[in-house]
Symmetry: C2
């Protein structure tokens, strides 16, 4: 399903934080994983922009490691701030889906 890209704004950062936390640790793999997951049209460039942003905002620790295949990989891990951000994201998300569900019921 190709959902409106606007709907992904704000959400995608949370998704990627969650993926990193779940052990999907570098850009290429994250992209593939999310595409398999159903976000088929997710652009590779989008994932990398978000990773750069996470790094700039100091939500992740980064380490370059050799790949068994192809060029060097950049491995990401959530630091304390990153974990808090992920937590906050889920809070916001829960708030939103609750409100949306209520709203939908009203007629």
């Amino acid at each position: 399903m190709r959902i409106s890209t606007e709907l992904l704004k704000g959400v995608l950062e949370g998704i990627i934080l969650q993926r990193i936390d779940a052990g999907i640790n570098y850009g290429y793999e994250i992209t593939k994983n999310l595409r398999d997951f159903g976000f088929e049209d997710l652009a590779e460039g989008t994932v990398y922009t978000i990773l750069v942003r996470l790094e700039k905002n100091e939500l992740v620790d980064v380490e370059k490691r050799k790949s068994e295949m192809g060029p060097m990989r950049k491995f990401y891990q959530l630091n304390q701030a990153g974990k808090e951000r992920l937590n906050l994201f889920w809070q916001h998300w829960d708030f939103l889906i609750n409100k949306m569900t209520e709203l939908r019921k009203e007629n």
Copy 2:
């Protein structure tokens, strides 16, 4: 709760379409209603920009009517295209929350 405004992108248009469909038909009322509903920091200007956009995209029919209080009101109603858009929005929304719920479970 003050949720990240990025999280509202794409969502807010859907919310407003839903409100119009539910019989909340003009900007000022929509703003108040949504603020009461929990979106406390929702800016009035934001609602009006979205209403203008809906009109420009021909998703709504518009009618000016006298108010009992204050200046003229602009009453909005969903036309066929608007109803289809609202429908599509909920489809996208359902897709997204399903995916998010799955994702969250993984670890």
